[in-house]
Each structure stands twice: as structure tokens, then as C-alpha cells.
Symmetry: none
Subunit: 227 residues, 2 copies
DNA sequence: TTCATTGTTCGACGTTAGACGAACCATTAC
DNA sequence: GTAATGGTTCGTCTAACGTCGAACAATGAA
């Protein structure tokens, strides 16, 4: 049975903690530079550079050059799917790593995932919307109910514009720190951008952390409780 | 971001050729002994024994003791899914090993993937349905057209029951041996079960191979050509 | 221009882990 | 009983690979 896809080669690339850390980070952040990835994985940039070139050669990641920066991202959805599958098995078999890093708590509380809100607050919002039937799972995926449209309107979010965007309107995105869902899609992006607009929070530079002000935290929780 | 499922640990276990060979063999044959696996992977039995105990400890495989024999098998469907996913990516990125083994052809022609038909015949069916607009990709994923409903009805498959199942009705699943799609979801499962019902094929014991009779092969091809 | 920053290449070092021989235990066959 | 087979454990060897320091190229900012 020495035939078929060479899974060992691909798996070996994922089976090294620095590379796995980098890929996991790329699941959340769409594009990161080599130095950022090096910091995340806790290795020097030379080391990360070597890892990235291996991942590139195997077409697991792709790169966009912008001036002196090179933004790395996952090659395609299949790779993301593979990582999800891997996380699923790792989770089921109880293979967790419970090491926390100093920045963890903030990251855990609220962070940006692509362009929407993830972490505790993101999950809280999503679950509140679902509990009050403003969002509902249908056969076609997640749907916003008429009452939900109204709630977003009252929150000052124009769902019409979000509807017109070409990408998916609203979908549930698995939150790795919480292992529950949060709101993604253009609707999720609109919600986060409204939060910024109201001055409730701002994104930390060169990080995925979203730092809520104390007022912002209170107001955001009040808003989602009003669902 | 050193938190969450430890994917590197699992991936590292799959990223070694002897272990990968063993797991791949277990995808096809449900239960094999340590010595058989050692022969397949081309290592001594002590070596395979060490590998198997690592895989056992990580709950990627399970074992059934029978006298002095120990029959190893994949732990669950998630592990099989992970391996398929891995094969898919390995194929897409052109990571192949081109040594053939005698039993491959049957597996390539028709096999069970979860509960639906994969391999040449699975891909053939899927592509024929798509070509005749019985299946169509929509924004929401794969959809069965009214003409498609009719075709399945004529084939003796009750799409209503399949619709009512909680899981997804029809979706495209990447076929690792063909590198193209085949039909999955409750509709795919219904098609395969109809094939068994008509006596066109039967699943080989302790393997993923689906063995078509010569009549069954002809009739199945005729059926999908009638789309 | 000068300087800081991003990212790569090269070489050397050290750890890891896979490989096998040999010895061992357990089960079944004769 | 003895012999044969399936499987594991132990110790040792070796090759592979991740790691970093240092040096270098390219880009952009002051």
C-alpha cells in the first residue's frame, strides 16, 4: 500500500509545533508576516523563515508580497479544512495544550477573526442572538429573522448594505478559544465595525486583540442582552 | 496562541511513513495484526509494535485481542475522515508516491467513503448528474434540481426521506483517488444503499472495497448514463 | 544619504526519535 | 513436555531536523 497521496509528507509538515502554531494562527488571521509568525510560535525569524519556505514548497500556504512585507496565508480552503479536521481529532482524543501566555487573557476575551469579533464577547453575542431567535439555523445555514433585522437596525447597523455584499451574509464561525460559535460574514463584520464606530473598542496594533473600554464593555453587554 | 487542540502532536504521529502506511492500510482493511502491518510498512515487528503503541496511546487506533492475535483498527470515523482530508490535500498539492500495490485497483474503482460511494464509479455518477443539470452548485452549496428529483424517483430512491434527515442532504466530497468530486450527504448514502438493495454490489468484509457484480456494473453505468 | 526593519541564506550544533538485534513473555500446535 | 509463532521490552546506533548566530540583501523612513 505504498500508493496514493503521500500523507506522511504533509502530516510531517504539520507535526512540528512551530509550523503548527503558524498554521493555526493563519486560521484566525488571514495574513501575517514572517516576524509576527515567529513571535507567535516563539522561534527566531530565521527559523520561521525556514519553516515557511517548507510550507510554501508544499503549497500549504501562499504569500502576497507588499513592499518589504510578505503576507502569508493558508493556500486554500482544503488546508483550512484539514486543520479543522485535525483540531477535531486532537480535541476528541484529549490532546490539548494548556499553556497560557501572558497575552492570552486579552486574546481570549475579544479578538478579531478575519474581520469580525471572536473570543468570549463574540461567543456571548452570537449565543444571545440565537437564544432570542434573532438568528436561526436553517437547512441553508444561518439566517437572520425579521426580529433580528429590527434588532440590528436599532443598534445602528445597516443590514441592507451587508446583504448586498458578495460574500456570505451571516454564518457561524468556530471559535478556537471557546470551542463555541461566533458570528461571521458581512453581518459579523458590520457588528464589529459598529463597535469601533461607537468608540467602544479599538484593535491593538500588530495584534489580534480587541481592547474594549470599560464603558464599551458595559454598553456592548447591555446591547446584546437587549436581544 | 499556544492554546487549543494540540494538532502538532497528532500530526507528528501521522507524519512518519511507517505509521502513515499502517493507518492507510487500516483505511482499507478494517483489522490487521501487528506483523501484517509491519510487512506492509516494511519495518520489523519490534518497530511496528512501538509505532502501534504510540498510536494507541493517542487513541488514533483501537485494538481487539483474540487469543495471541491483536487486531488493530482505526479508532473511529473522525480518524478516517482526517486521513481522507489529508489524502485530499496531499493530492491537490501534488504530493504523491507512485508505487503501486496489487490490491489498489479494486479500491480505486469503488469503495465506501463514510456511507456513500467513492472511487471511479462514484465520480462518474456525480459528474454525470452535474453535466445533465440534475445537480447544480448554488450559492448555498449543491442543490438537486426538480429534474434531479425525478431521476432519483425513477431510480427507486425516496428523496423525501433523505430530505428529512438532519444531516446535509447533498454535498460534494473530494475523492482522493480520483482528485475529483463524488456525491455525499443523505442523498449519496441513499444512492449507495439502493445499489446494495438491487444486488448490484456488495461491500467486501473487513475492507472499504465495494465489489460490483458484472451485471451490477453494467446496470449502474446504464442508470447514470440515463441522467 | 543614513539608519532601521523585514526577510533570507549559510554553517554548526544538539536533540530527537526511528531503526534493529537480542532477549523475553504468552499463546497455540504437536 | 517441546517447538513455533505473535508480540513486547531494552539498549544502542545513527541519521534527520529544528535551532540559532552571523552575515547579507532589499525596502522604506528620517
Amino acid at each position: 500500500m505504498k500508493d496514493g497521496p503521500n500523507i506522511a509528507r504533509i502530516a510531517a509538515l504539520l507535526g512540528e509545533s512551530a509550523r503548527a502554531d503558524a498554521l493555526t494562527a493563519l486560521m484566525t488571521d488571514r495574513a501575517l508576516t514572517a516576524t509576527e509568525l515567529a513571535a507567535i510560535a516563539g522561534v527566531t525569524k530565521q527559523t520561521m523563515s525556514a519553516h515557511l519556505s517548507k510550507l510554501l514548497q508544499a503549497s500549504l500556504i501562499a504569500v502576497d508580497q507588499q513592499g518589504r512585507h510578505r503576507y502569508f496565508r493558508l493556500a486554500d480552503e482544503d488546508v483550512a479544512g484539514l486543520l479543522e479536521s485535525l483540531m477535531g481529532v486532537a480535541f476528541r482524543t484529549g490532546s490539548l495544550r494548556l499553556l497560557s501566555s501572558p497575552r492570552e487573557p486579552a486574546l481570549r476575551k475579544a479578538r478579531v477573526c478575519y474581520d469580525h469579533l471572536a473570543g468570549e464577547l463574540g461567543v456571548l453575542a452570537y449565543e444571545s442572538l440565537v437564544r432570542h431567535n434573532l438568528l436561526a439555523m436553517s437547512q441553508q445555514g444561518l439566517r437572520l429573522s425579521p426580529a433580528g433585522e429590527e434588532w440590528f437596525r436599532r443598534a445602528g447597523i445597516d443590514t441592507e448594505t451587508a446583504h448586498r455584499e458578495r460574500r456570505s451574509f451571516c454564518r457561524a464561525c468556530m471559535d478556537w478559544s471557546e470551542r463555541r460559535y461566533h458570528l461571521a460574514g458581512s453581518l459579523g463584520a458590520a457588528l464589529l465595525s459598529r463597535v469601533h464606530e461607537l468608540g467602544w473598542a479599538r484593535k491593538e496594533k500588530a495584534s489580534r486583540v480587541i481592547r474594549f473600554t470599560s464603558v464599551g464593555d458595559r454598553e456592548f453587554r447591555r446591547l446584546i442582552a437587549s436581544a
